[in-house]
Amino acid sequence: MMQRPQGRPVNLTTERFLVRSLVPADACDRWCDWSADPDIMDPLNVPVRRASKDELMRYIARFDNDIGYLMGVFTKAMSLYIGFYMIEVNKMHATANVNLVIGDKTYWGKGVVNEVRAALLDEFFERRGVEKAYGTPLARNFPAVFNYKAQGWRLEGVLRGQCKSVVDGSRLDQYHFGMLRDEWRARKEKAA
């Protein structure tokens, strides 16, 4: 099978964090532990099951930094790996679906999500041809929903009963949040 060409890896710095495309060697026990933690996985509606390092390495290898990006968030001070962003780009429509996990719970409520996502929006809007970003958190993922609102994303719809809970089989609502490139630029200009 022909392999897709690899794109340009992401390498960004924010005030407190380093954000870079992950490579298979980044698979670590810490990350394996996150996959077994219901506090982390349930709000994402992902089954709780401890992933092995091999599985994580294979997972990371699927991302090509062209249409699929998996980027780790590392603290500047200690180079501690605290979470990751996964972005899928649709080149035809110039859209990006943004997903994230902050696995290190000591960083919850510390403004990590929006600090890093702002840098990623800059990168994908200004240097990678994306014109619209969107995210679809579960309605019950209250912290994620708060972050979208606090960052100025527009609620574009409520997807009622959009998916089935991996915990109890009930149907779960999701929100659809969107951010257009021009809206992001205007927001930044206003804040400057």
Binding site: A139, P143, A144, V145, F146, K149, A150, V158, R160
Partner: protein
Amino acid sequence: MSAMSTAKTLLAEALALPEGDLPANARIGAIEQWDSLAHTRILLALEERLGAPLDAEEAIAIESLEDIAALLVRRG
């Protein structure tokens, strides 16, 4: 107790602030303590108070003290 008074107590507890420090126009973005975790505490406290989960439209509408009071009136 009025809905506004209940809302103020609920919000102050979730934000770990004295009620007297809460302005009448308290809202997301205007109070530093109203972060993602505090927001979760607010919504869970509301559900506990109402004895039922918030639906997606109700949860997304909570952005201010006034919104909390309005919800308590509607569901009261």
